[in-house]
Amino acid sequence: MIELTNIVKRYHQQEVLRGVSLRVADGEVCVLLGPSGGGKSTLLRTINGLESFDSGSIRISDIILNAEPGPQRDQALLEIRKRVGMVFQQFNLFPHRSVLENVTEAPIHVLKQPRDAAVQNARRILARVGMGDKENARPGSLSGGQQQRVAIARTLAMNPEAILFDEPTSALDPRTTAEVISVMTDLAASGQRMIVVTHAMSFARTVAHQVHILHAGRIAESGPPEQIFEDPQEPITREFLSEAAKA
C-alpha cells in the first residue's frame, strides 16, 4: 500500500501542493490527471524523493518518509528507490551503455545480483517489452518509443512494488505512443501497481482503477474512471475534461 498524507510543498512563497492525500492499494493503477501546473509531476516526484516536501508524510508498506531532512530520510529514500521505480518523460537512458547494460546496471550494482542471473532476467524482460533483438544497441540509435520501452524494462528489472510514470508518452509521436501504452496496459493487466501522470485519456479510461484530478495543488475529485469520465461531480473536472476533449 502507498499512502500520501497531507503533503504540502512550497516553492519560494507559493504553495504548489496544498495538502494532498491519496492511497494506492496493492495491484492498483492510479492515474493523476489535471491541467498543466496543477502539481501532478511534483506530487509524483515527492514519492521517491526527487522533490522534497514541507509537511505531511508518505508511507510505502513499512517505510515512512517524513519532510525533515536528515540521515533518517536519506535511509528511507534509498530503500524506497529500490522498491519503487520511475519512468521519465525524457527516458533518461544511460547513453554510454548498451540496452542490456542499461537494464542490468542497477540489479548488479544496487541489488548485488550475480551478473549471469541479472543478464538472464534482463533478456526476459526486454523480450517482454518487445526489445529482445536490440540488447546490444546504444540508446542513441533507438526511436523514442523504443527508448521508453527500454526505460520501462530497466525499472522492471528491479522487480518494483510500484512504478511511477511521469508523462511517459508526452515526448512521443502517436504511433510510438501506442507501443508504450500497450506495454503499460500489459503491465497493469499482470497486476503491476502503478501511479501514472499522463495526458493519455484513453489509458486513464480503460486501465486505471482510480483517477485523481489535481488542480492548483489540491485534489479536486477522485474516483473510478467511469465516475470521473461519465459523471464528474466537480466543475473543475468538467472544465478539464472538455478542454482535454478539444485538444
Binding site: N48, G49, L50, L78, R81, K82, G85, M86, F88, Q90, N92, L93, F94, P95, H96, E105, A106, H109, V110, L111, R138, G140, S141, A151, R154, T155, M158
Partner: protein, 551 residues
C-alpha cells in the same frame, strides 16, 4: 654560419621584474627561516667520499661545457679546478647541474657542497656564504662591431647616436650588468640576455639596435674565434674576482678549498689549467689574499705575487678553445643527447598528467557535490594555482617541501628529489585546469541522468562513479589531450629546479657548439614527434564524440 636570431629581453619588462621579484622574495623568506646544517661539511664530504659541486653547463666555455669531441663528458677550467680541490680533500668530484642564478639556493638546500661557476665576489655573497680566495681575476671587455667605428672608448657609450641611447647587451645578473649600470646609469639602455654567447651574437647581428656588448674577458677570449665581426674596444677594465662558495657554516671545507687553491697557485697547476683554456694573463699575478675571520676572501685587497712570468705562454701542451661546429656533424655528435633528454620530457609528462587529472577530478567533485568545508577550499585551490606562475610553484615545492618535511619529521633528513618535485609541480599546476574542465564536463551531463540513477536506488557516489563521471570523461578527453600537449611543452620550465629535459639540453648543446639552427630544428622535430600523435588523437576523439551525439 647561418644563425637563428635570438630574442633579447629588455631589462625593464614588467613581467620579468615581477617574476624575479617574487622568486627573490620567496627565496629570501625561505632562506631566512633555514636553520643552517651543522658545522661538519668537510667530515660529511670525506665520509661519502664525494665533493658535489654545482654549476650550469649552459653558461658554456671556458667554465663548464660539454666536450666537443664527446658531448656526454664535461670539460672547462672549473671542471679541472673542481678535480683539483677534490684531490686535495682526498675525495672524488661529482658535478651537479643547476640553473646558474639558483646555484646558491642549491647550496642552502644541501644538494651541493660547493658552487664553482664564475661567481664573482660581492659583499652580499660574503655575508651569506663562505667565499673562497679568488681562483681567477677577471676583467670586463667592451666589444663592438668591426664595421662600427663610432666607438673608441668607454666614454663614447654615454653619447647618444642619432638621438637615441646606445643599447648594450649583457648577461643578466652578471658583473658586467652591475658595472655598466654604475658607469653609464640612465644614459644607455641595457638589454639582458640569459646566455653570454647570445648577448655577443645579438651584438654581432645588431639585433634590436644593440651595438655594444660588455663581457667577462675569459668568455671573450674563449669565443673570439666564433665572432669574427666583433672587435675589442679599449683595454679590459672593471676587475673582479671569481670565488668558490660554500655554506656559511662549513668552515673546515672553506679552509680546505682555500688551501688547495693556494697550493695549486704556488706550484703552477692553476696556471697550467688557465693556460690550457688560453685565459692566463698578467692580471692573474695580482690577486687578493686577505681572508676574513671565517677564512674567506675580503674583496678589494690585492697584492702582487711574484710567481708567474707575466707573459702569456701558449706553447705548453694543447689548448682548449671554442670550436664551432654545424651541419650533420653536430647532429651526429649531439643528437643522441637530445633524444635522451626527450626521454626525460616524456617521463615528466606521462607521470604528472594522470596525477593532475586525478586531483582535478577530486577538486571538481568537491566543488560540485562536496559540503562547503570541502567546496570552498577547492575553489580557493583552483584560483591560487591558476593565478600563480608554474615556475614559482616548482621553485617553492623544490625548496619548501624539504623544509616542511624537516619540521614535520625533524631529524629524519627527508627530502624531495628534483624529479619528484618537478612531477609534483606540474601535476598541481595542471590539476587546477583539469578540475575546471571536469567541472564543465560534469555540469553538461543532463540532470535527468543523475535523477534516473538515484531513482534506481543508487547512492550519489555510485551514480557519479558509474553514470556521471564516465560520460563526463568522454566529453573532457579532447580538451584534456590538448592540455597534455601544453604540459609537454611546459616541462621545459623544470630546468629551474635542476631537471635537464629537452629544452635545457638544447640550450646547453647549442650554446657550446654554436649550432643554434641545426640543433634547434632537431629539438623542434623531437617536440613535434611527441605532440603530433596526441593532436591526431584529440581530433579522432572529437570526431567520435560528435558522431555519437548525432546518434
Amino acid at each position: 654560419m647561418n644563425k637563428k636570431p635570438v630574442q633579447p629581453s629588455v631589462a625593464r619588462s614588467p613581467f620579468r621584474f615581477s617574476t624575479q621579484t617574487l622568486l627573490t622574495l620567496a627565496a629570501a623568506w625561505m632562506i631566512a627561516s633555514l636553520n643552517v646544517t651543522a658545522d661538519d661539511g668537510l667530515d660529511r664530504i670525506q665520509q661519502r667520499d664525494t665533493l658535489v659541486w654545482g654549476a650550469d653547463q649552459e653558461g658554456g666555455g671556458p667554465f663548464v661545457y660539454p666536450n666537443p669531441d664527446d658531448p656526454s663528458q664535461l670539460v672547462g677550467f672549473e671542471v679541472e679546478l673542481a678535480q683539483l680541490i677534490a684531490e686535495h680533500l682526498g675525495v672524488k668530484a661529482e658535478f651537479s647541474q643547476g640553473q646558474w642564478d639558483k646555484l646558491p639556493d642549491l647550496l642552502d638546500r644541501g644538494d651541493i657542497d660547493l658552487v664553482l661557476n664564475g661567481y664573482e665576489w660581492t659583499s652580499n655573497r660574503a655575508q651569506r656564504y663562505g667565499v673562497s680566495i679568488p681562483y681567477y681575476v677577471f676583467e670586463l671587455q667592451l666589444l663592438g662591431r668591426t664595421a662600427d667605428d663610432s666607438l673608441t672608448s668607454w666614454d663614447d657609450l654615454l653619447k647618444p647616436v642619432d638621438g637615441r641611447k646606445r643599447k648594450i647587451s649583457v648577461l643578466g645578473g652578471s658583473a658586467a650588468q652591475d658595472y655598466v649600470e654604475k658607469f653609464a646609469g640612465d644614459s644607455v639602455e641595457i638589454v639582458l640576455f640569459e646566455g653570454a654567447t647570445d648577448a655577443m651574437e645579438a651584438t654581432e647581428l645588431g639585433l634590436s639596435g644593440i651595438d655594444v656588448n660588455v663581457q667577462d674577458l675569459p668568455v671573450w677570449i674563449f669565443y673570439a674565434d666564433g665572432f669574427q665581426q666583433l672587435r675589442t674596444i679599449a683595454p679590459p677594465t672593471g676587475r673582479g674576482f671569481y670565488v668558490a662558495m660554500t655554506r656559511k657554516a662549513d668552515h673546515d671545507l672553506l679552509k680546505a678549498v682555500n688551501e688547495s687553491l693556494l697550493r695549486a697557485l704556488q706550484d703552477g697547476r692553476l696556471r697550467k689549467v688557465f693556460t690550457k683554456y688560453r685565459i692566463w694573463n698578467d692580471t692573474q699575478a695580482t690577486r687578493g689574499l686577505e681572508t676574513d675571520v671565517d677564512g674567506g676572501f675580503v674583496g678589494g685587497h690585492t697584492e702582487s705575487l711574484s710567481n708567474g712570468s707575466g707573459t702569456n705562454d701558449r706553447d705548453e701542451e694543447e689548448t682548449a678553445s671554442y670550436q664551432p661546429s654545424g651541419g650533420w656533424e653536430v647532429i651526429r655528435q649531439r643528437g643522441g643527447l637530445l633524444v635522451k633528454s626527450a626521454g626525460m620530457t616524456v617521463l615528466l609528462s606521462i607521470t604528472s598528467m594522470p596525477i593532475a587529472v586525478f586531483i582535478g577530478l577530486l577538486i571538481a567533485l568537491a566543488r560540485l557535490y562536496g559540503p562547503w568545508y570541502l567546496g570552498k577550499p577547492a575553489a580557493v585551490y583552483v584560483e591560487l594555482v591558476r593565478g600563480t606562475p608554474l615556475v614559482l610553484q616548482l621553485y617553492l615545492i623544490y625548496f619548501l617541501v624539504p623544509k616542511l618535511l624537516d619540521i614535520l619529521f625533524p631529524g629524519m633528513g627527508l627530502t624531495i628529489n628534483a624529479f619528484a618535485a618537478a612531477v609534483m609541480g606540474l601535476a598541481i599546476n595542471y590539476s587546477a585546469y583539469e578540475a575546471e574542465i571536469y567541472r564543465g564536463g560534469i555540469q553538461s551531463i543532463p540532470r535527468g541522468q543523475m535523477e534516473a540513477a538515484i531513482s534506481l536506488g543508487m547512492s550519489r557516489g555510485l551514480a557519479l562513479r558509474r553514470i556521471i563521471i564516465p560520460q563526463a570523461t568522454r566529453l573532457v578527453l579532447p580538451p584534456m589531450t590538448n592540455d597534455f600537449i601544453a604540459l609537454f611543452k611546459d616541462t621545459a620550465v623544470c630546468s629551474v629546479i635542476t631537471v635537464v629535459e629537452l629544452s635545457k639540453q638544447y640550450y646547453i648543446q647549442a650554446r657550446s657548439a654554436g649550432a643554434i639552427v641545426e640543433l634547434g630544428l632537431l629539438t623542434a622535430l623531437l617536440y613535434l614527434a611527441m605532440s603530433y600523435p596526441l593532436s591526431v588523437m584529440t581530433n579522432r576523439l572529437e570526431k567520435n564524440l560528435s558522431q555519437e551525439r548525432r546518434g
